[in-house]
């Protein structure tokens, strides 16, 4: 079953067609990668899916509902969460609070209950804290829950961002370059974490990634964007040997050496 269907998405900034007629279908429970050279429109495409940009053309259907006209917070509330290419944590909040913020759409205590500190509020907050710590354990950050987010090392910040996204109990999580700037060991951990997202939590994962080793290792499907257009789609084997992909990455002429695919 398709969890997300984006059809014929086009986004134009001034004279630049950032995303050009891209169609992408994501099956429930899959891990899908969107790759492409810098400036290919990957992040713009993510921003359209999550509602930050409105597409000029095309529709997005998420979980059976059209989400084209919805605000980003409404889309997030429907169960689509994301991380950012340049980590965007709430720096002056603690690790635990960051995850609690991610849980916002699941907390409903009305303001008078908060002011009166009613038993139902205490219950809700207690549950939220338990759940947050569960998620922090999942990304192995529970021992740092009281630290300010800005004081975490880089890799921890990436994982915290994932935990925060998970706090919304998402059906789909979009990871924008989750291993950017990581060393090989950290990348390996991140790869395992992404797998566990799907295998243990049942979350469908879409990632933008430049690390081809990771992409090839975990994606069931790969879509390649170049200059805003989808130039190829398929599993790792198909992409590896696709001349247009090789051309996009290595330039014209390189396609002839398809025996040595980009890695």
């Amino acid at each position: 079953m398709a969890l997300l269907e984006a059809t014929n998405i086009t986004k134009i900034f001034g004279g630049l067609t950032a995303v050009n007629d891209v169609t992408l279908t994501i099956e429930q429970g899959s891990i899908v990668s969107v790759i492409g050279p810098n400036g290919a429109g990957k992040t713009t495409f993510f921003n359209i899916l999550t509602g930050i940009y409105k597409p000029d053309k095309g529709d997005v259907i998420f979980d059976g509902k059209p989400i084209g006209g919805l605000r980003p917070d409404q889309i997030a509330a429907l169960g689509m969460r994301r991380t950012f290419q340049n980590i965007r944590l709430f720096h002056n909040m603690t690790v635990l609070e960051n995850v609690l913020v991610g849980m916002h759409t699941h907390l409903h205590a009305p303001i008078w209950n908060i002011i009166l500190r009613s038993p139902s509020l205490r219950r809700e907050e207690g549950k939220a804290r338990d759940r947050s710590r569960e998620l922090l354990r999942f990304v192995s950050l529970d021992n740092k829950r009281d630290e300010l987010a800005k004081n975490l090392p880089y890799g921890d910040q990436r994982r915290l961002e994932i935990a925060r996204a998970l706090a919304g109990n998402p059906k789909l999580i979009l990871l924008d370059e989750p291993t950017a700037g990581m060393n090989p060991n950290e990348t390996l951990d991140a790869t395992n974490l992404i797998r566990r997202l799907r295998d243990q939590l049942g979350v469908t994962v879409v990632l933008i990634e430049h690390d081809m080793r990771l992409v090839m290792a975990i994606s069931e499907r790969i879509s390649v964007l170049d200059y805003g257009t989808k130039i190829a789609e398929g599993d790792g084997q198909v992409i590896r040997s696709n001349p247009r992909v090789i051309e996009a990455y290595l330039g014209k002429g390189a396609a002839g050496m398809a025996a040595h695919p980009p890695a």
């Binding site: 997030a76 709430f90 205590a109």
Partner: protein
């Protein structure tokens, strides 16, 4: 807005001090002694002077020290009740000036806490906050005086018992005006937002100044006088227990305690909101709007809520202020007052509740007591022959001194006196420490 930087050396000095005096029998003895000494100094020498001002500040600082030390909650509450509920009123009978100052400080504490919701929590710079205060004040002024007759012919003032109801009306109207201001500025951030709120504050003041025609709503620049005070339902009881106070004194105590109660409620509400989903959403918006939306936080609703909640405290205090002052006019609600309240929030520690309270008390006392007193001392020194140039009039330089203080503060401790420190958030930790504070 600048966010607080990591704790500096002052904090560790504080830690060492509080480690020494903050817990165990040492803590109890220190706090009791502190209260005893400052109380005695106040009560034995209640004359209005710079020394008394300083002792008065030290006396109020006890509340902060109590808040920060680790002694039994009951002991904290007891100290607070003795200091603010017994010593302060008694001191007030000896020198009524100071209880009025305390009341004034309390009003500013509530205002600063309200503004802190908007600026400190949600990070929305608001330079027109005094407008909501004005709205509350004018509401009660118009409805409790014959001014209502000038507006609606034949209408008579409401009975003064309605004052208590109007506190809630002030709260709601203040909140409504907050939302009203919020609506057009939702798309703005930072500097742009500040300019629009500044304009809004001025609009309200100018409206108050000019709405005497065609329909006389605010009585224009002359202001509204003879504002009704609530009936003193407790005066009989006080006489019965042998306290003989005249009406003015009674009202001073009444407003002191009323303001104290409102401040306590405000602190409680603000504290609880801060540690709730709403407060966290505000902080998230302050930190990073884009990331906040991506967590499903509805920006519009949360920002409007911040404006509304912040403004409602000002509306409430406006009603109380009008009844206390008996007279209001438009200049009371000028831009300088907004800036003053903002400086309290920033001086004390943006976003941090005890810090904001401290800032409000210190700035109020500086403006009302310390600076005029210093000017007075300089002037008398001048007439006593100290060589100060004839053209130098110290009273003219009070604001300069205040400005210098602000500048020094921003150079050496830009995060405020008590910056926001995120305390450990243990699972199931109860944050129900008594939030006593200087009023």
């Amino acid at each position: 807005m600048a966010t607080s930087s990591p704790q500096t050396g002052g904090a560790s000095a504080w830690d060492r001090l509080s480690g020494l005096l903050g817990r165990g029998p040492g803590g109890y003895a220190f706090l009791s002694l502190y209260l005893l000494i400052t109380s005695l100094m106040l009560l034995l020498n209640p004359r209005t002077s710079l020394l008394t001002d300083i002792v008065f500040i030290l006396f109020l600082l006890l509340m902060l020290i109590v808040y920060r030390t680790r002694v039994h909650v009951g002991f904290k509450v007891a100290l607070g009740v003795i200091a603010l509920g017994v010593v302060m009123p008694y001191f007030g009978t000896l020198n009524p000036y100071y209880i009025d100052v305390a009341t004034q400080a309390g009003i500013y504490v509530a205002l600063a806490l309200g503004l802190n919701v908007v600026v400190g929590f949600a990070g929305l710079l608001d330079l027109g906050y005094v407008a909501f205060y004005a709205v509350g004040a004018y509401i009660w002024s118009i409805f409790s005086t014959p001014q209502i007759g000038a507006m609606i012919s034949g209408a008579v003032p409401v009975p003064n018992m309605w004052f208590y109801g109007f506190i809630l009306v002030g709260l709601m109207i203040g909140g409504a005006f907050g939302v009203l201001l919020g609506l057009p500025v939702l798309r703005l951030r930072g500097d742009y937002l500040a300019i629009v709120t500044l304009g809004f504050g001025e609009v309200i003041r100018v409206l108050a100044e000019n709405l005497d025609k065609p329909l006389n709503i605010t009585n224009g620049a002359q202001g509204i006088k003879d504002i009704a005070r609530p009936p003193l339902f407790f005066s009989g009881a006080l006489t019965a227990i042998g306290l003989k106070l005249d009406d003015n004194q009674l009202y001073q105590f009444f407003f002191y305690f009323l303001v104290l109660v409102i401040v306590l409620i405000t602190v409680m509400i603000v504290g609880r909101l801060k540690n709730s989903r709403i407060g966290r959403a505000w902080t998230a918006i302050r930190e990073d709007e884009t990331a906040a939306i991506a967590q499903g936080i509805p920006l519009v609703r949360m920002k409007l809520m911040a404006f509304g909640v912040g403004a409602s405290f000002a509306g409430t205090m406006g009603v109380v202020f009008a009844a206390k002052q008996l007279f209001i006019n438009p200049p009371t609600f000028d831009l300088l007052t907004s800036i003053s309240i903002l400086s309290m929030v920033i001086l004390g520690g943006l976003g941090n509740i005890p810090g904001v309270i401290l800032g409000a008390v210190l700035v109020t006392l500086l403006n009302l007591n310390i600076l005029p007193r210093i000017a007075e001392i300089l002037r008398s020194a001048k007439s006593a022959g100290v060589p100060i140039p004839q053209s130098f009039d110290p009273t003219q330089y009070q604001r300069l001194l205040f400005g210098l203080l602000l500048i020094l503060m921003m150079i050496f401790r830009p995060e405020g006196i008590l910056p926001e420190d995120r305390r450990r958030q243990e699972l199931h930790e109860d944050e129900d420490e008594p939030r006593e504070e200087p009023a």
